[in-house]
Symmetry: C2
Subunit: 281 residues, 2 copies
């Protein structure tokens, strides 16, 4: 397994693979890997001769007062995990490499970035779309793998890739959960033991909403109310948002129909957790 | 020579060439070609096995009330000129192909786009950087050729390509002029005969300024005054801007030193002409 730090070396490697007719699968990560990331790597290995995983904690997608400074890191552990999975390359650039001195270029997707996490984290998606554009240009993948835990991120990046005509196929992958239902996240490690136990409230509430929808309740407001009631059974949980939206446009729906996203963001202590569930009616 | 209309066919063609180890040179144009464009094609032919010329009048770089509707077009003539030069591909997409329904993704370079043409044409450079990003992703060039008549465009696109890490080498090429000094432009065709004769005032004023600088006058304000006095000798000429700026940052300079851009935009009748000269002190 190669560890590549420079953009030039990364591009040279990828161009060589492509001229050898090999497909490149790409898994962008911020490191501190868990089984969710590894499921993306597994998916990438199925359809690509070469798999590149980037590890880059992207400063521009964190807002003022967010958890950039305490974002967990453990490169040696990540490296071992990826080596065990027979990944071909870790792309591990510095911040200065990705954001050259006096950089002032941004990629923005408007509309779908205004709501959900975009509303509560202004500037977040600009950071995401800008860094993903950069990483695509560094790694030159054929396929790129994103977890559906960040469902809005999948929608935003798919739209960006399609509209800027990146020659990259975006592959959304299902959420990986702990046995008790908590969606895997690098941030879970920042929960106390007690918070961790109660954090299952996100998934439980989503499952309850899903059941109601299956039983014929299609009123979005009623569903939101149920989600709210369930989550607030845990006193330490502070709601950031509860949304019921069309999966493609992320527009609010009144009546659930077609592919619909139930999305939550909840703060437990200092940790902001997100989770979601897609229903198709 | 192939004429390719679809993005998918363009990408497939380029990926095939790259996997055959061939370098792709790219000349983006808005059509109605002149010797300026052809000089870019010639340059591209020197260092690339494959040369792609795009013809696309990009609506998003024209402002309200600008000349999008009257921008000259003659595809058959363009095609013949490019066939004669043994160009490999004309990429000739429709507006709907490049801007899919409900598109809402933009690439922006801030700072260097605020001044010169950016100040008088708000939104112009957003249109340019967005479309060039799209075209790069369609054509996948190794080298891309831009004329220095749009000097600010060269600065902006170079910055964008560098900061988004496009694996594309930006090659600036010298201005091509008529024998009387007028910089070639597709827009020149919209000048009346009398306007055309007087349009040389742009180049003449720049040459006079250059002479003064060579004679030791390094005061930017004095140089601007000379440019203004010269241009306004032609009564129909209405100044848009006269700027003396650092070539890399496009920041105003007080005293000319290093690589400095003298840039003009002048309206003659309905036609907006730009010209410039780079001095190195």
């Amino acid at each position: 397994m190669k560890i590549i730090n420079s953009i030039h070396d990364m591009q040279t490697f990828s161009q060589q693979q492509k001229s050898d007719g090999k497909k490149i699968g790409f898994v962008p990560t911020m490191g501190f890997l868990h089984k969710g990331h590894l499921s993306l790597v597994e998916e990438a290995k199925k359809r690509n001769e070469i798999v590149v995983v980037s590890i880059f904690v992207n400063p521009t997608q964190f807002g003022e007062g967010e958890d950039f400074d305490i974002y967990p890191k453990d490169f040696e552990r990540d490296k071992e995990m990826l080596e065990n999975m027979e990944v071909d390359v870790i792309f591990y650039p510095t911040v200065d490499e990705i954001y050259p001195k006096s950089y002032n270029t941004y990629v923005d997707v408007y509309g779908v970035t205004d709501k959900l996490c975009g509303a509560s984290r202004p500037g977040h998606f600009r950071g995401v779309t800008t860094v993903v554009s950069k990483l695509f240009n560094c790694v030159l993948p054929d396929n790129a793998y994103f977890g559906l835990k960040d469902a809005q991120q999948v929608v935003v990046i798919s739209k960006m890739a399609r509209e800027l005509h990146f020659p990259v196929n975006i592959v959304p992958c299902p959420i990986v959960r702990e046995s008790d239902g908590l969606a895997l996240s690098s941030r879970n490690v920042n929960l106390t033991k007690e918070q961790r136990e109660h954090a299952t409230v996100l998934y439980k509430s989503l499952k309850k909403a899903e059941e109601m929808i299956e039983d014929g309740c299609l009123d979005a407001n009623q569903i939101k109310q149920v989600l709210k009631d369930e989550i607030t059974t845990y006193q330490e949980a502070r709601l950031d948002y509860i949304e019921v939206v069309d999966f493609d446009t992320l527009e609010d729906v009144k009546t659930i129909q077609g592919k619909t996203l139930l999305a939550l963001a909840v703060k437990i202590g200092k940790v902001r957790l997100i989770d979601n569930l897609i229903v198709e009616v």
